[in-house]
C-alpha cells in the first residue's frame, strides 16, 4: 500500500517567535525553518511501515513556497520515495490544504495518510480531520500507536483522560502525537541520494482548488507580558509567600 505524508515547513521549534512591529504577523526573515516536528514523526512512522513490508511507497507532499522543497528533501532523505510540492507563495489555510490533499488522495489512492496532529505555527489542529471528512474516510487522530490488522487499522490515541483505542476501516487518515515514535536523522549518504529522488511541482490550480483564505488576519499581537517576579532566598520564605496567598496551614 502507498502511504501519503503531508509535511509542512514551519519555524524551527527551538526559535522563539517574534511578532512584527507592524502587527501583521510573526517575523520569519532569517529565521531557521524546519519540518513541523509532528510531520517528522509521521514520516518516521511511514518508513517503519515500509520497513515492516506493510507500505510499498511513501509519497511526501507539501503545500507552500518554493522553499518547502527543502522540507520535502528532508522527508526524502529520511526515506520517502518521491515528493509533490504544491506551490503557493501565499499561506494556504487548513481547509485549502485539506482540499488539495483530498485531490491527491483521489489521484494516488493511498492506503493510509499520516499527518501531524498540529502545525506548530498556526496551531490549528485541523487538516487531518478535514481531509478525513472530505474523503469520507475514518480518522485516528493524536496517535501514539498504529497497528495494521488486515483491512482495519487500530489506532491508540492520546486523549484528555489517558489513552483510547479505535478500530478504523482502511483506508484511513491518521494524525501523529508525540509518543508515536522518535524520528531518525537522515544520514549523509541518504541526504545525497535524496537529491535525485523525484519531486513533482504542481499548483493549487492544477487540482482545481480555490485557496482564497476564509479567515482574514486583522492583527497579530504579542500576548500580555509576564514579568519575572522575585527570587526567594530559601524554603522558609516560599512557605511564607504561600501562606500569604492563603494556601496551607
Amino acid at each position: 500500500m502507498k502511504i501519503l505524508v503531508p509535511v509542512k515547513r514551519v519555524i524551527d521549534y527551538n526559535v522563539k517567535p517574534r511578532v512584527k512591529m507592524d502587527g501583521t504577523g510573526v517575523d520569519l526573515a532569517n529565521v531557521k525553518m524546519s519540518m513541523n516536528p509532528f510531520d517528522e514523526i509521521a514520516v518516521e512512522e511511514a518508513i517503519r511501515l515500509k520497513e515492516k513490508g506493510v507500505a510499498t511507497e511513501i509519497i511526501a507532499v507539501s503545500i507552500g513556497e518554493q522553499k518547502a522543497q527543502e522540507t520535502l528533501r528532508t522527508a526524502l532523505a529520511m526515506g520517502a520515495d518521491r515528493a509533490i510540492l504544491v506551490v503557493s507563495e501565499t499561506e494556504v489555510e487548513p481547509l485549502g490544504v485539506a482540499k488539495i490533499l483530498a485531490k491527491i488522495v483521489a489521484e494516488e489512492g493511498p492506503g493510509m495518510v499520516i499527518l501531524g496532529k498540529q502545525a506548530i505555527d498556526d496551531d490549528s489542529n485541523q487538516v487531518g480531520q478535514m481531509l478525513a471528512a472530505l474523503t469520507g474516510r475514518p480518522q485516528g487522530t493524536f496517535a501514539s500507536k498504529i497497528e495494521i490488522d488486515g483491512d482495519s487499522i487500530k489506532v491508540t490515541r492520546e486523549v484528555d483522560g489517558g489513552l483510547e483505542t479505535v478500530s478504523l476501516k482502511s483506508p484511513a487518515i491518521v494524525t501523529t502525537d508525540l509518543r508515536l515514535n522518535e524520528p531518525r536523522y537522515a544520514s549523509l549518504p541518504n541526504i545525497m541520494k535524496a537529491k535525485s529522488k523525484p519531486l513533482a511541482q504542481k499548483t493549487p490550480a492544477d487540482y482545481g482548488v480555490d485557496v482564497t483564505p476564509r479567515l482574514k488576519t486583522l492583527k497579530v499581537a504579542e500576548p500580555p507580558k509576564r514579568s519575572a517576579g522575585v527570587k526567594v532566598a530559601d524554603v522558609d520564605e516560599l512557605v511564607a509567600k504561600l501562606k500569604a496567598m492563603g494556601v496551607a496551614a
Binding site: 471528512a133 501514539s144 483522560g161 509518543r179 476564509r214 479567515l215 500576548p223 509576564r226 519575572a228 526567594v232
Partner: protein, 309 residues
C-alpha cells in the same frame, strides 16, 4: 445568531470545558446544545438546566456512545441547517469532531478562540501562544473551538431549556471504539484544578514523582502535571502533559519543579495566576515568568517545603 454547542460529558455529567464553550457561544447569541451519546437522558436534563440554554437536542444511540467523529459530525451537519455557528470545547474530543464538521460544511474553522470580538471576529493563539491573532471569518457559518481557560464557566443551574430528541444517521460504519485506558486519580483534574504541581525531566523517574511531587500535591490539594520530557521518559502518563500540544491550564497557583521552561511548556501554563518555580539553574527560562523563584536542588527543597506546609 443561533449557535449549536456540542456537549462533552462523562459519567452522566456535563464537563466544565463545555460550560466555558457555552459562555463563548452566548456572546454570539441564542445557545442550543447537542447531547449525543448512549443513555444520555440524565445528561440532557442536566444540560437543559444550564443558565442561558434554549433548546437541547438529544441523540441517544449506541453509535454516539464514544464521540466517534465519523458518526457525530454528520449528525451535527444535519442540525446545522438551523444554526449560524457550531461551537465545541477545545478538548481532545472537541478537536477531533469540530474540523470534521467544518470541512463537511465547507467552512474554515477558528481554533481555540480566546475572545469573541464580534459575530465574525475572534482572537486566537498561534506559535505556541507567542502571537495572538485577531481573525475575521468570511464564512456564512462559523465553526469554532473554545479554549476553556479563556472563558468563565456558565452556571449549571438557572436555565430551563426544552429537550428534543433527534435521531441522525447513526453508525457510519467507518470506525469502532475498542477500549480506553483512563488514568484514575483521586486528585483534581488538571484543567479545572486551583493548584497544580508539575514535575519535569529533573525528577529522573516515576518513583520520584510518587515520593517528591505527589506528597506536595497532596498537601496543597493540587493536581499533578508534567513537562513533555517527563511524559516521554515514562515517569507519568501522557495526559499529565502541560503545554502547547498538551493541556492548557490556568490555575491560581502553578508550581513548576525541575522544569526548564521551554516555550512549548510555557504555552500551556503562563496564564496561571501565580507561578512558582523550583530549579537548581538560576538561568532557567522558567524564572522569567515565575512570580516566586527558588534556586535550589528539588530533592532537598521540595520535601522540606512539603514538611513545612
Amino acid at each position: 445568531m443561533k449557535t449549536l454547542v456540542w456537549v462533552e460529558h462523562e459519567g452522566g455529567n456535563v464537563k466544565d470545558s463545555t460550560l466555558s464553550a457555552i459562555t463563548a457561544a452566548a456572546k454570539l447569541g441564542e445557545v442550543h446544545l447537542l447531547v449525543a451519546g448512549q443513555d444520555v437522558g440524565g445528561v440532557a436534563a442536566a444540560a437543559a438546566k444550564i443558565a442561558g440554554v434554549g433548546k437541547v437536542h438529544v441523540a441517544d444511540a449506541a453509535a454516539y456512545a464514544n464521540a466517534l467523529p465519523e458518526n457525530v459530525a454528520p449528525l451535527v451537519v444535519e442540525l446545522m441547517g438551523h444554526y449560524d455557528a457550531f461551537v465545541a470545547p477545545a478538548t481532545a474530543n472537541g478537536k477531533n469532531i469540530a474540523p470534521r464538521v467544518a470541512a463537511l460544511l465547507d467552512v474554515m474553522q477558528i481554533s481555540e478562540i480566546l475572545s469573541v470580538e464580534s459575530a465574525d471576529t475572534f482572537t486566537r493563539p498561534t506559535y505556541a501562544g507567542n502571537a495572538i491573532a485577531t481573525v475575521q471569518s468570511s464564512d456564512a457559518k462559523k465553526v469554532i473551538t473554545v479554549r476553556g481557560t479563556a472563558f468563565a464557566k456558565a452556571e449549571r443551574e438557572g436555565g430551563s431549556g426544552s429537550i428534543e430528541a433527534v435521531s441522525g444517521a447513526g453508525d457510519a460504519g467507518l470506525s469502532s471504539f475498542v477500549g480506553a485506558e483512563i488514568s484514575k486519580s483521586e486528585r483534581p483534574e488538571l484543567t479545572s484544578a486551583k493548584i497544580i504541581v508539575s514535575g519535569g525531566r529533573a525528577l529522573q523517574n516515576s518513583e520520584n514523582f510518587h515520593t517528591i511531587i505527589e506528597p506536595l500535591a497532596d498537601k496543597l490539594g493540587a493536581a499533578v502535571g508534567a513537562s513533555r520530557a517527563a511524559v516521554d521518559a515514562g515517569y507519568v502518563p501522557n495526559d499529565y502533559q502541560v503545554g502547547q500540544t498538551g493541556k492548557i491550564v490556568a490555575p491560581e497557583i502553578y508550581v513548576a519543579v525541575g522544569i526548564s521552561g521551554a516555550i512549548q511548556h510555557l504555552a500551556g501554563m503562563k496564564d496561571s495566576k501565580t507561578i512558582i518555580a523550583i530549579n537548581k539553574d538560576e538561568e532557567a527560562p522558567i524564572f522569567q515568568v515565575a512570580d516566586y523563584g527558588l534556586v535550589a536542588d528539588l530533592f532537598k527543597a521540595v520535601p522540606e517545603l512539603t514538611g513545612k506546609l
